[in-house]
């Protein structure tokens, strides 16, 4: 055979170039999206826009109730999901790492994570809104979001717990400490930042969800703040959906401004989580 064999070094160079190009194709649109939304939306955003209520059938005014509503929803979702999520992760990692029951729990969590958001919405509607008679309300919406966030909390907490080296657990047990004492005094203090990072990421995710709140809590137009957990609220993602698809003759810049507000909120929270995590990695002493 006579054809020349490719020089492996050239081959490597070509491959690196090709893969780099593909990575650029993946990454650049993200930067473009952020850039375009920023440039087109920033002109509308001022103090007034953030602190007043929408008027004229959502065409004018601000997004204050939607911001408040979104904050209420994410706080509620975290309050419901964190205790269960963290407890589940502790059970899986510290108490029962390889039993059959633990595997079943793990599979359940994997599948909870895979259930489409709109199916959570259906479930929330069927169970919380209708069967339990909460109506479309903050209670129903936050419970739905919490259920959806549960797998995220469990997975991230479990990761944080697993990052604590086993030798610390052994040292603690060897000193006669019980399992819970070991978890409480050695494992948790050294994984708390990682757990917090997971919770913050979940906050940012819940803040951007639309489908689960569509039938369970979100109001199309409700220019006042909620009085109790049985009230509906407006929410930023729902608001963007509404003005993009349901309201005719609305200025494009207003829509960009709502999108930008939502992105600011979600990515801002995300950035906080990422910086905490970077700090943990840098300061980790073991």
């Amino acid at each position: 055979m006579n054809f020349k064999k490719q020089n492996p070094i050239n081959q490597q160079k070509r491959a690196t170039f090709g893969l780099g190009l593909i990575t650029a194709i993946v990454v650049i649109p993200v930067l473009l999206i952020l850039g375009v939304v920023f440039v087109k939306g920033i002109s509308v955003i001022d103090w007034n826009f953030l602190t007043t209520e929408p008027t004229n059938g959502l065409r004018e005014g601000g997004v204050f109730p939607a911001i408040v509503g979104t904050l209420i929803l994410v706080v509620g979702a975290v309050v419901w999901s964190v205790p269960f999520g963290v407890a589940t992760a502790i059970y899986l990692v510290e108490y029962s790492p390889r039993s059959r029951a633990a595997n079943l729990v793990r599979l359940a969590i994997l599948n909870l994570a895979g259930v489409p958001s709109v199916v959570y919405g259906l479930f929330g509607l069927g169970v919380f809104v209708i069967a339990l008679k909460f109506g479309a309300s903050i209670l129903a919406g936050t419970l739905t979001l919490a259920l959806m966030g549960l797998p995220v909390i469990v997975t991230s907490t479990a990761e944080a717990l697993k990052a604590v080296p086993d030798r610390f657990r052994e040292a603690s047990l060897a000193l006669g400490a019980s399992k819970w004492q070991t978890t409480r005094h050695v494992v948790l203090p050294n994984s708390i930042q990682g757990i917090l990072t997971g919770i913050i990421l979940e906050i940012s995710r819940a803040g951007g969800e639309t489908a689960p709140i569509l039938f369970t809590v979100a109001a199309f137009y409700l220019p006042r703040l909620p009085q109790s957990i049985f009230d509906q609220v407006m929410a930023l993602p729902m608001h963007l959906f509404a003005i993009s698809t349901q309201v005719p003759n609305i200025g494009l810049d207003v829509r960009y401004a709502v999108a930008l507000t939502l992105l600011f909120l979600v990515l801002g929270i995300n950035a906080v989580a990422i910086s905490i995590r970077a700090k943990i990695r840098k300061n980790r002493i073991w």
Binding site: T23, N111, G114, G121, S204, R205, G208, P237, I274
Partner: protein, 303 residues
């Protein structure tokens, strides 16, 4: 000779302080709740669909979805076809690009840039789907309409393009994880034999990480099937079986989101939408369980 087998739980829970037992019971209860939740979701979806699966109007192979005609027609196939068209197209884009990007970011890029790109990928994951849908509607759709000379830019292809990017973070980060879990000894072994880094990647890394990468691809696909808001806004919402991906379609998820508001509890339409929920639940359950198999396979092969 007496033979006692020390089992962790037998010995450790025996005569433990009460507080210790209560704590463990609480933790176990929380964990088992997760199993209860997933069972609960399936139970309620099935219950609320109220036996619509056994009626004549709701058919998996039906080609028409006409909820308000008399009598109504709930043909799932037309929506399933829409979901499949969007999902397959998006996967064809996202899986190869995502895997390539993961190899580049995880293996070829210097550490400094790696962190930066990972943050961008995370930001991509964090962008709410309604924002993606909004941008798809007002930027991508007009462009697609122009470029391909179509009646409308809201097509299966437009939706698939946006969804491909939404699936990318899942595929990229899970593929990276899979590559990273390949032991360093294997890498060093290959490099020490004089292989270039690229040869090491194609001959050692990729074959070893294959189950993990497959799982990454499947979970990415699972994400696409379940995606709702972006598809609802970009795919054109036309319940007809498409003859090409350049036509508007309607997916399972979009149908639920768009029509649930018009129904009354217990009527046929309400039940039919919960029926779609069951179909979606089962599809994603199958995908996730299969992906889990691959991940477990990876672990057993390692040990």
């Amino acid at each position: 000779m007496k033979n006692i087998k020390l089992k962790k739980h037998k010995t450790e829970t025996f005569k433990q302080p009460l507080s210790e037992k209560i704590t463990e019971a609480c933790l176990r209860f929380a964990a088992w709740l997760c199993i209860f939740f997933i069972a609960c979701i399936l139970y309620f979806l099935v219950k609320e669909s109220g036996g619509v699966f056994f009626s004549d109007i709701f058919t998996i192979t039906g080609k028409f979805w006409r909820p308000i005609s008399e009598p109504p027609d709930f043909g799932v196939w037309v929506l399933l076809a829409g979901s499949l068209a969007v999902t397959l197209t998006a996967s064809l884009i996202a899986v190869p690009l995502g895997i390539c990007a993961a190899i580049f970011i995880g293996e070829l890029l210097p550490q400094k840039f790696r962190e930066f790109l990972k943050v961008i990928v995370e930001f991509l994951a964090a962008i709410p789907s309604v924002v993606i849908g909004f941008l798809g509607m007002i930027i991508l759709a007009p462009y697609i309409k122009e470029a391909f000379d179509l009646k409308t830019g809201l097509t299966a292809f437009s939706a698939a393009l946006m969804l491909a990017w939404m699936a990318m973070p899942t595929i990229v980060s899970l593929t990276e994880d899979a590559l990273r879990s390949v032991p360093d000894t294997l890498r060093d072994g290959a490099l020490a034999l004089g292989a270039t880094k690229w040869q090491m990647i194609t001959r050692v890394l990729l074959p070893t990480a294959k189950p993990g990468i497959l799982a990454a691809a499947m979970l990415g696909v699972g994400r696409v099937i379940g995606e709702t808001m972006a598809v609802l806004m970009i795919s054109g919402n036309s319940a007809r079986i498409p003859s090409s991906i350049m036509e508007p379609v309607r997916t399972l998820t979009a149908t639920i989101a768009a029509e649930m508001g018009e129904t009354v509890k217990g009527d046929e339409h309400y039940q039919a939408l919960f029926g779609l929920g069951v179909v979606l639940f089962i599809i994603t359950l199958l995908i996730n369980t299969a992906a889990d198999r691959f991940i477990n396979k990876k672990y057993t092969e390692e040990s």
